[in-house]
């Protein structure tokens, strides 16, 4: 097999000439449309690309990007961050998680603070590194703080598979996996923000496929175009949405054809299904309880479930955010980060009040980091 250089994955997709050409075509279609259109990019990865590459600066006046709730760190309620903090502070526990979680503030502090107080908190590149850490520390319990949408769930499932297969006895799981379609539906039902079309998430759709979005054109008359994360992908996604509108079509389309199919990754889906089932409800920070929007370990794997084993230490009482924190409205697409009075003053990436400011996919972090030049 020919080896693939990393640049081949993005180089053509940032080409200035292609970008200019697409912007021109978007201009023509937007003029044909003749009215305003509000496009929600569901995923925080898209929000970051839009602000980082300044794509919103290139849009005609009648096209508006609405930032969505697709940032797993941002929507995790404070009490669950506190749970991770509490677990990390237990004697003989090593808490491992993905890098983004380290800085997120709970009511007691972040995992970074827990680490400064002596807790053993480590970040991973691959959940499978947990196996090595567990083997190197046989006298410790290693708790994997699992978070993320459909994108990261298969990695957790693969780790569970190995833990069982290799009979590793000192790894537990604190599961916070959530799913995309339910909050999208809630946003349309709640009508807090005007959403005329969705740019669907890239990597989630690689796993789950695009069939999960069919409900949106069918029942909400809202088109979905699944686009990649590069500037050319996003612009082409916008163009495809405009064409649907102008041609009076309303459907699920794939721009990110190099990775996404309607069915998705069936092997990964099967692996997820082996270990996980839907939770009745999961509380989303700033949004509230959403039915069927998260996963939990199936009953037969309760012996791996830190949430059950340490249950007595993990109160489910809801912890409110700072009164002036607008994260809820921002996650619902009803406000932009700059409309929050705390933004950039009391709330910055180094002393965040809300997790939208710390996560690498948070809308506030994107606006702060790239400055939102208009």
């Amino acid at each position: 097999m020919r080896s693939l250089a990393l640049k081949e994955l993005y180089e053509g997709f940032r080409d200035p000439k292609t970008i200019r050409a697409l912007v021109k075509r978007i201009g023509i279609e937007a003029e044909k449309l003749g009215h305003d259109i509000h496009i929600m990019e569901v995923c925080g990865g898209h929000t970051h690309s839009i602000v980082k590459y300044g794509l919103h600066q290139l849009m005609p006046q009648n096209i508006h990007f609405i930032h969505g709730p697709g940032c797993p760190v941002c929507v995790l309620p404070k009490e669950r961050i506190d749970h991770a903090y509490t677990l990390a502070m237990q004697r003989d526990v090593i808490l491992v998680t993905l890098g983004d979680m380290i800085k997120v503030p709970g009511s007691k502090g972040s995992l970074q603070d827990a680490r400064a107080k002596g807790a053993d908190v480590r970040y991973l590149y691959s959940p499978l590194d947990t196996l090595r850490i567990a083997k190197e520390n046989p006298d410790k319990k290693v708790i994997f703080f699992a978070i993320g949408f459909e994108t990261t769930t298969p990695m957790t499932a693969a780790l569970i598979h190995h833990v069982i297969d290799q009979k590793v006895e000192n790894i537990l799981f604190y599961i916070n996996h959530i799913t995309v379609p339910e909050p999208m539906q809630l946003l349309l039902d709640a009508k807090r923000s005007k959403i005329d079309a969705f740019i669907g998430p890239s990597h989630v759709s690689v796993i789950s496929g695009t069939n999960i979005y069919e409900v949106f054109p069918r029942e909400y008359h809202t088109p979905v175009v699944v686009a990649g994360f590069e500037p050319v992908d996003i612009l082409e996604g916008v163009l495809m949405i405009l064409k649907q509108c102008n041609e009076k079509r309303c459907e699920v389309e794939i721009e990110y054809t190099r990775s996404v199919t309607p069915e998705g990754n069936l092997v990964a889906q099967k692996l997820i299904d082996t270990f996980f089932e839907k939770r009745k409800y999961f509380r989303w920070r700033g949004i509230g309880d959403i039915a069927q929007s998260a996963l939990q370990l199936r009953e037969e794997f309760a012996y791996l479930d830190a949430e059950k084993i340490y249950g007595a230490l993990l109160p489910d009482k809801e912890i409110d955010d700072h009164k002036q924190c607008l994260c809820g409205d921002i996650l619902m697409g009803a406000a932009k980060p700059v409309e929050c009075t705390l933004f950039g003053n009391a709330c910055t990436p180094s002393s965040p009040l809300g997790s939208c400011m710390v996560s690498s996919e948070g809308a506030c972090a994107a606006y702060y980091r790239y400055g939102n030049v208009r």
């Binding site: 910055t348 990436p349 030049v373």
Partner: protein, 331 residues
């Protein structure tokens, strides 16, 4: 109760705040408040600086802690237009450290000192029980003779041109990969090297140097932001002009980093007057250490105290001071 986190040592926002609110507040004096790479003392004749070195791994691609400890301090002097002359060296060694490894480190210090024409004139050795430090910490303090006066982060003005001496982010990216044991097939190595030989040529050619800084912790983003703030100007950078190697780009893509925020140990940023920019660029490119030099931007009045990154397709964004600990993203 607040305690120190790793973010307080990142060379960015938290680091800056700790220095301002604690050290500057209690140690305050006019020289310290200049906030330059090295203090200017002795009626403007001498530059004086100190730096402590801790790095994992001690031996990395492109150098080791010994080379780094000489480059770091000598480069801080060179960035003030000073010829490095006399250094002190203090080492804190963990019990059990191999003497042969220590000798290897001392030899690379010696080699690097020769490149700078500097000597170690005083030193100190402490050995501490196992676990009290991570293998070896080195502090070096240096005095240099100022050969070019007036270089300052406060001296930039309208129309000055910003030049970078080479491709950025190599030290930060390379150390990160090695420290985390990530195995990539890559030619990436640290850019760690002494800068005085390059600076000496710039001075000899009588280039109108306004400011100079090696873009260490916090990277190019930290240097440009500090200049914009201290000189109350806007720096506009053409993103596609900034040299970034394929390897560094790759690491950034994979882990969600920004090359502008990654550390450099032998790449510096230079601000010169517009009329001297072509001459400075030509000179830099004629020297092997800075053969990849590029003009990347200029000083404007656009957004005072801000750094603006411009794309070739007509959009722009601010380049902010890096903040937090360097952490890889989720997905």
């Amino acid at each position: 109760m607040k305690s120190i986190t790793l973010a307080h040592g990142n060379g960015g926002e938290e680091n800056g705040r700790l220095i301002e609110e604690l050290f500057y507040r209690h140690f305050q004096n006019k020289i310290l408040h200049q906030a330059e790479d090295a203090a200017v003392i002795g009626k403007g004749a001498l530059a004086f600086t100190t730096d402590s070195f801790t790095v994992t791994p001690l031996f990395f691609k492109g150098g080791d802690i010994g080379k780094l400890s000489i480059c770091g301090t000598c480069n801080d002097l060179a960035m003030m237009g000073a010829k490095p002359k006399y250094l002190t060296c203090a080492v804190i060694i963990e019990e059990g450290f191999e003497i042969s490894a220590l000798e290897k480190i001392v030899l690379s210090m010696k080699y690097e000192l020769e490149k700078n024409g500097a000597i170690i004139v005083s030193g100190d050795t402490k050995v501490v029980p196992k676990g009290s430090v991570d293998k070896l910490f080195i502090n070096t303090t240096g005095i240099g003779e100022i050969r070019y006066k007036g270089i300052s982060a406060n001296a930039l003005s309208l129309d000055d041109v910003i030049i970078v001496s080479g491709s950025i982010g190599r030290h930060g990216a390379s150390i990160f990969l090695e420290r985390e044991g990530m195995e990539f097939s890559t030619a990436l190595e640290s850019d760690c090297r002494s800068l005085w030989p390059v600076v000496e040529k710039l001075i000899e050619a009588d280039i109108d140097i306004k400011a100079m800084r090696d873009a260490t912790r916090g990277g190019v983003a930290a240097v440009l932001n500090e200049w914009a703030r201290q000189s109350d100007i806007c720096i506009e950078v053409e993103e596609e002009k900034v040299p970034i190697s394929r390897e560094v780009k790759g690491v950034c893509e994979l882990l969600g980093f920004e090359a502008f925020s990654l550390a450099n140990e032998g790449t510096f940023i230079l601000a010169v007057s517009a009329q001297d920019a072509p001459k400075a660029l030509e000179l830099l490119r004629s020297i092997e250490a800075s053969s990849m030099a590029e003009i990347i931007g200029e000083v404007t009045t656009g957004y005072p105290q801000k750094v603006l990154l411009k794309t070739p397709y007509g959009t722009s964004r601010f380049l902010e001071l890096p903040s937090g600990e360097l952490l890889p993203r989720i997905c």
